[in-house]
């Protein structure tokens, strides 16, 4: 890195990559995220690959709620189906989506189809099959750990399928490691202490999540929040002022997985692993 010319070339490259990365990820899907703001929070455009991370498996309820909330906004009369997929032997780990609970949450259970596969390749096959169906609005896949098969190629494949099929994929992931992935949006969702019931502060109230956007850009007004919001679920996403202590302070840089190449190139885009 001696010569100034080299430095300059590097700078130019960095700037160029930053320009690419800064572009909202929807050029591919042809959708414009900037003007989509439904139900109080963004209802992202269809045809995107989302990764919804949470640090611990015990937060599984929060991520499922967040994914279902987003998926619900994608349901249209001609796209009524949402698929939930998981490995059959992981049901006891995090629990199965429960009909009365879905109803209670505001998600009509008849929209949801559960798919329980034996192996990871079958699960990925099922996601792709579902994405190619024109009646599917979204696929939520619950994936524990860091399966080897789920690499950049696979996520690129899924994101292309999502674009061409017009259905969104939400990969619910657990842990702090991040692989290289072609996901357009990567969220980190953690549950937050709710504000308490209107009449009794000792009763649990509506779900509340601390949401971080780790990768991808939404729009300028959302970007002002620094990619960090506190969301309430009142049968629809609702912003809450961050008067509750932020659980993680400023954006934490998650640990990249060994072997994953961090691409710390663009300015301020440290986590685009």
């Amino acid at each position: 890195m001696g010569s100034p010319a080299k430095q300059e070339a590097l700078e130019a490259l960095r700037a160029r990559i930053a320009a690419i990365e800064n572009r909202p990820p929807l050029g591919e899907s042809g959708a414009d995220l900037r003007r989509k703001q439904v139900e109080g929070f963004l209802a992202s455009a269809p045809g995107l690959l989302h990764e919804v991370f949470t640090p611990e498996e015990r937060n599984a309820g929060a991520t499922l709620g967040f994914s279902l909330g987003q998926a619900r906004a994608l349901i249209k009369p001609d796209r009524p189906a949402v698929f939930y997929m998981e490995l059959a032997h992981e049901s006891q780990e995090r629990g199965l989506p429960y009909g009365p609970g879905l109803q209670n949450f505001g998600f009509a259970p008849e929209h949801l189809t559960l798919v329980r596969t034996q192996t990871m390749p079958e699960l990925l096959w099922a996601i792709e099959e579902a994405l190619s169906c024109r009646a599917v609005a979204a696929v939520i896949a619950d994936i524990g750990g860091h399966p080897k098969i789920l690499d950049f190629t696979v996520s690129r494949r899924l994101s292309l399928r999502a674009v061409s099929g017009g259905a969104s994929v939400f990969l619910n992931r657990y842990g702090t490691g991040r692989e290289a992935s072609a996901a357009q949006l990567r969220w980190r969702v953690e549950p937050a202490v709710s504000e308490g019931h209107r009449y009794d502060s000792q009763l649990p109230a509506q779900p509340r999540w601390a949401v971080f956007l780790e990768k991808g850009l939404l729009s300028t007004e959302h970007a002002m929040g620094g990619g960090h919001w506190l969301l309430d679920w009142k049968n629809g996403f609702e912003f809450t002022q961050g008067d509750v202590a932020e659980p993680a302070g400023p954006r934490k840089i998650p640990a990249p997985l060994p072997g994953a190449q961090p691409a710390a190139l663009g300015h301020g885009l440290l986590e685009t692993a």
Binding site: P80, Y98, P100, V115, Q118, P191, V193, L203
Partner: protein, 538 residues
Amino acid sequence: MLNLPRWATDCLKRRDPALVQSGRPFALYEKHKSALKLVAVDEKVSGHNVWPGHNLSDARALIPNLEAREIDRPLIESLFAEFADWHSYASPIVAVLPDMSAFGDLALDITGVAHLFGGEGKMLASVVGRLEALGLEAHGAIASSIGAAWALAQHLPGRIVEADGNLDVTLARLPVSALRLTPEQVATLQQLGLKRIGQLYDYPRRTLQARLGASLIARLDQARGLVDESITPRIPAPERFVERRFAEPISLLDSVLETARDLAIRLAADLEAEGVGAQAFHLMVYRVDHKVMCLSARSAGTTRDPLHVTRLFAQRAERLAGEFDAGFGIDMIRLGAAEVSQLDSLQVGAFDDEGGGDLLRLHDRMANRLGETAVLRTVPVGTHMPERAARLESVIQPAKPASNAFSDRKRPLRLLPNPEPIRVTAEVPEGPPADMTWRRVTYRFVKAAGPERLGEEWWLTQAALTIDPPPKTGEDKPRTQKSRYGWDEEDEPPLPRRPMLFRDYYTAEDDGGRRFWLFHDGIPGTEGAGWFLHGFFS
């Protein structure tokens, strides 16, 4: 009707060429009341006038170089069953008559089939000739009733009696043992001097019934075609089918699938002409060494779309690619459709091309590839017991109009299939929980709501509120396969251990904002009472 009197010895000889090369007489024996009796003999043994039923020691005395083995009935029966399946190349309805013998007799319903072979005589000759070419001794006969065909195949092989023919005259000359009777009945008839079937025609029926039982009368009427007798086909008989025979056996899986596609197109044309579609499809692959492979695919909606049907089979085949074994080649493939029902001929594709139909096809593909229990929908059940209030059923089953609705009580988004035991402390006895230890982690609750008391549904005997132990890690698969919350309905109903159980459910939020659904089971302080975690809210 085909009769293979030497099936047991012939099939073993085919499996073990050494038996043929040795050239020794071969017989199978069985232990019968502390004596070893012959049950099957080959032609060399019967040449010495030794028959099944003789003692093994007598036979050894008569035939010094006799090769005798103990019979392995399950093996021979299963070989015969496969052999029987293979005969569905000739007729879709093939049956073994287990009330006489589990092997040796094969019934084919050739109604409306014989003309494909150029007539009944040619069909019989071709089927029997094919077996003789395989080295099997076979006798065949065709008659209008199963009983008569059996009698003819045993005693007058090669005889064909037309439906309107003189069946009674032909049968009259046969011995009474041709009527599928028990040995005791035959012996009694012999004692009475009734040796031929013809003698029974005019004998007073009441006397016969009194002395020999109603079964004799039934057998006699069945043979004469006076009462109907049905056979149970071994392979589900498809309602419509198309098939292709190959001049040269094929062996590649790809060729099989290619043929399946052609057949599906032909089948679709046939079904369309009738204005019907089907829900179940069977692809039967006939190997030259008389084995049949049967692939079945089900569709959630009635269909006849060849593309869809082909795809279902292609996916099925993908899964068993490793097990595919063409043996010495495949000489016929048949595609059958079952569960046929009306399908509007207006529909060009399998379903209409918008939304719903697409989804049904997706369900079919997934269920065929992943298994029917892998693709599920949630159905409400009219009960307030949490683990039973939602049932997961396969999307392949036709959806019934919902008779129940989900309760609008506060219920968790995720439910653990098996509630997990936790340790809980409460500030006051029987009060809301203050903290819990679950999976060796302690959670401190800042908010809690409850209790919601759920009692046992005493009006349902099997609805006891019992807890299944949570599965251990690395547990065997069938259990984790459970597609429901908690126990299956098919399981043995857990009997109530104690009268009147109830659970107190609490919703609790910990200091990290996680919301849990936990319950206390039983009366506090009594044996078996305890806390369990049952679900997670978002």
